[in-house]
């Protein structure tokens, strides 16, 4: 008997088990990464993750550190086909198609192949609602960024800066939008505004363009038609935010009216300023009646969710007793009031 040969054989067997173990840990870590990107990871598992994997952005600039034992494979989501369905060998976990978190939003914003592309508009009725309007856009872009690789071009004009201020990195980071992936352009002339957005769409490294403008912008059908065509051709989304403007007809695929709504309770603290909630009314949809619903932003998942209907006890009645603002855009002949969710009831 040659102990040497026996040892060699044992060693060979160990190597094989080691390799299969390695493959398994690699698979598991890959699945866990993808589930985290999706937002499907349960709280418990998330808390068990090592710290360097918990809260980081799926950054495209450098590979993330791996746990010991696994090979360093970075799941880079390619910008060419962000909705690729990667199949594992026999595993039940498939990558779900992209979602904003709310079925209604997905129906409106995503096309048949779950792509987010084309020109969309969002209006804010009052100029003091600039924060709400831009918050909705930040939410859409942050959700989109978790799936795609590239930068966002954010165009802002002087009127909007006067109403809302400048973008603040630490706040954006908490909200869920990585400020390092923002390229911010301030335009002072109205004719430059749409031109900058078009140039951004034509650039390889920019995956979405958002313009935040006050009422001075002249964006009518002819001006926005080029923008819409280019957005479709490049398969990139273009968001046009208009503050305090009347709603002229444009070439946008869908038009939303955003207004603020009471925040949702966070952490059980009823008196606190909780999660941001938006009231969204869509009134220009092909084949759909106007809809009106509330959305809540979950910053830890970087997704919207439909806002739950709940009462919030208030310390005192509103200032002049009026209950809510006028319905926006929705024609009530269809009785759509009954279909809306998330109505808040004020304690008297």
């Amino acid at each position: 008997m040659k102990p040497h040969a026996a040892e060699k054989r044992a060693f060979a067997v160990n190597c094989e088990t080691a390799k299969s173990l390695e493959r398994q840990t690699l698979l598991e870590s890959l699945q866990r990464d993808i589930a985290m990107i999706e937002g499907r990871l349960s709280e418990k598992v998330r808390l068990d993750l090592p710290t360097h994997l918990k809260g980081e952005y799926p950054s495209h600039s450098y590979p993330r550190p791996r746990e010991e034992g696994a090979q360093s494979v970075v799941p880079i989501v390619s910008a060419i086909n962000p909705q690729a369905n990667l199949d594992f060998e026999g595993e039940a976990n498939k990558i779900l198609p992209f979602t904003f978190g709310s079925h209604k939003l997905d129906q409106i914003f995503l096309d048949g192949s779950h792509q987010f592309c084309g020109l969309f508009e969002a209006f804010g009725k009052e100029s003091r609602e600039a924060g709400t309007l831009s918050g909705f856009a930040h939410g859409l872009l942050a959700a989109f960024l978790t799936r795609a690789d590239g930068d966002i071009l954010w165009v802002q004009d002087q009127g909007f800066t006067r109403e809302a201020g400048v973008l603040y990195g630490p706040g954006l980071a908490q909200f869920g939008l990585n400020p390092a992936r923002l390229l911010i352009v301030s335009v002072s002339r109205a004719q430059d505004a749409l031109w900058v957005m078009e140039e951004g769409l034509a650039t390889q490294g920019i995956i979405a363009v958002c313009g935040a403008f006050s009422a001075h912008l002249k964006a009518d059908l002819t001006a926005t038609r080029r923008l819409s065509l280019r957005a479709h051709r490049q398969k990139k989304p273009a968001l046009l935010l208009r503050l305090g403007a009347s709603c002229p007809p444009t070439a946008a695929r869908a038009r939303a009216h955003i207004s603020p709504a009471s925040s949702a309770v966070l952490g059980g603290y009823e008196q606190g300023v909780g999660r941001p909630v938006y009231r969204v009314c869509f009134d220009k949809l092909k084949g759909h009646p106007p809809t009106d619903f509330h959305l809540e932003w979950r910053h830890e998942d970087i997704r919207f969710t439909p806002a739950a209907t709940h009462t919030r006890a208030l310390a005192s009645t509103p200032f002049n007793g009026s209950r809510s603002e006028a319905e926006m855009g929705a024609v009530l002949a269809f009785g759509s009031r009954a279909k809306t969710t998330g109505k808040f009831r004020y304690a008297s």
Partner: protein, 485 residues
């Protein structure tokens, strides 16, 4: 006023013929020539004019230096062949200056000091290497550019011409009059090198075109600049570099020069990209590009270059031109100004207003990537405590709040009254001890509150200072500094 009398500092030919001289007092001159036209001496304007002429002389050579208050040095080493020889160059220059209304003279010599001497004190127009001694000897000492005292001292000892100075032994001269006379003499004779101090640094790579028929239309200018971009690109390729700072100089026939510079974040040498950037810079100049009677020389020069990295071309097969992000930043910065295109860079500061800096995107192209990364440490149940937008200047609001540190109950912002329904806070942030108490320096210790009104609008407000430590009759002020979304 020189020596308590107003004196003439410059005269024209007619006045010289009538017997006036520079340095004559004004009353004497008026006595001799009653119908004398006198203008006040304006040195600043003269200097500006000389600078403009120097700018225009850029068409001959990029190395142009000032020579006193009324002259220019042009280093034409290696440029003469473009003009059929040095004499033709000088003649062309003088002819154009005379056409523009100046009285001008020129001289060509191997050294600057010799040229200065010949131009002002001699009738000779050009000098070859080796002839300096013979040509300069009969000239007076002031031709060397020595100052008046030195010349007076030398003349008192009997030295009146350059030839005499040259023939004397050097050591006693140095001990008596210092180094300057001999240094100048050596420079004139070519034994010492004195490099010129040009007004503008010479460009690294250059391409230019001259036109016998001046160009007037914008389209012609674009066609020419496109050709120049291609030849500039070839020279840059030969050097293995890309251009970082490019300037297009358009020389008008009447002497005015229009300078269109533009900067590029990553070194670039693709002629198409250079051309688009030039177009944007040209359009930004807009109406100030006035062709006048036309441009007869257009030059494209690269003042700063850097190592050129090949970029990957995209294979997406799209019709539209797909450029990359750095080219987009260049185009937007040139068209809108470099302050208009920004990125947010995190700073490690507890003061919220200083937790980020908005850098122009061109400037941070060279910053290392780890300085630009943002971190995120959010856990599920924690609310957002920093606003998404921040006002550049915090806005003053009128507040009704509980003392000492209750949140606002009601506040008025931009003349609208808001009832606060939910509030969180205070978050107390102290300012660094070295900051002043004025708002622009950072203010006092602040309590930040997150507020929400009945409609769901969310604000970030702070109280600048504490009630306990405030002076009597000056309660701390409240400000709104950001909006939550």
């Amino acid at each position: 006023m020189i020596k308590n009398a107003r004196r003439l500092t410059a005269i024209d030919d007619e006045a010289a013929r009538r017997g006036l001289r520079v340095g004559l007092s004004l009353s004497d001159s008026r006595a001799r020539v009653p119908d004398l036209e006198v203008m006040d001496n304006d040195e600043a304007a003269d200097r500006a004019l000389l600078n403009d002429i120097a700018r225009w002389c850029d068409r001959y050579t990029p190395l142009v230096a000032l020579d006193g208050k009324d002259g220019l040095f042009l280093d034409i080493t290696g440029c003469a062949h473009l003009f059929d020889g040095e004499d033709m160059l000088a003649k062309d220059c003088i002819k154009r200056l005379i056409h523009q209304g100046f009285a001008a003279r020129s001289a060509i010599a191997p050294t600057a000091v010799a040229a200065h001497a010949l131009c002002r004190y001699s009738d000779q127009h050009s000098l070859e290497l080796g002839e300096e001694k013979a040509a300069l000897s009969p000239l007076p000492l002031s031709a060397l550019g020595l100052d008046g005292e030195c010349v007076l001292g030398l003349e008192r000892t009997g030295i009146k011409t350059i030839g005499e100075l040259e023939s004397l032994p050097r050591a006693p001269l140095t001990t008596r009059f210092g180094e300057t006379p001999l240094v100048k003499l050596d420079e004139a004779l070519g034994k010492l090198e004195r490099p010129l101090n040009p007004l503008r640094p010479a460009p690294l790579v250059m391409a230019e075109r001259r036109f016998p028929e001046p160009l007037l239309r914008d389209e012609d200018i674009f066609i020419v600049v496109e050709i120049l971009c291609r030849s500039l690109s070839q020279s840059l390729e030969a050097r293995g570099e890309g251009a970082r700072q490019v300037a297009a100089l358009l020389f008008r026939t009447d002497g005015h020069v229009i300078d269109i510079p533009f900067g590029i974040s990553q070194p670039e040498r693709d002629p198409k990209k250079l051309m688009t950037l030039f177009r944007h810079a040209f359009e930004r100049k807009g109406s100030s590009v006035d062709a006048g009677f036309g441009f007869d020389l257009i030059r494209l020069s690269a003042h700063s270059t850097g190592k050129y990295e090949q970029e990957q071309t995209s294979f997406s097969g799209d019709d539209a031109v797909q450029s990359d992000t750095s080219h987009l930043i260049d185009r937007l910065s040139i068209r809108l100004g470099s302050a208009a295109v920004e990125r947010l860079v995190p700073q490690n500061s507890p003061v919220p207003q200083r937790a980020q800096i908005r850098y122009s995107a061109l400037a941070i192209a060279q910053m290392p990537a780890d300085q630009l990364q943002w971190e995120r440490h959010e856990k599920a149940a924690e609310p957002l405590n920093r606003p998404v937008t921040l006002f550049e200047e915090p806005e003053r609001i009128e507040v009704l709040a509980d003392i000492p540190d209750g949140p606002p109950i009601r506040f008025r912002w931009r003349r609208v009254l808001y009832d606060v329904k939910r509030a969180e806070g205070p978050e107390r942030i102290r300012q660094p001890w070295w900051s002043g108490t004025r708002l622009s320096d950072g203010g006092r210790t602040r309590d930040y509150y997150r507020l929400e009104d009945e409609n769901g609008r969310r604000f970030w407000a702070f109280r600048d200072g504490l009630y306990e430590t405030a002076e009597a009759h000056k309660p701390p002020a409240w400000y709104l500094c950001g909006l939550f979304v």
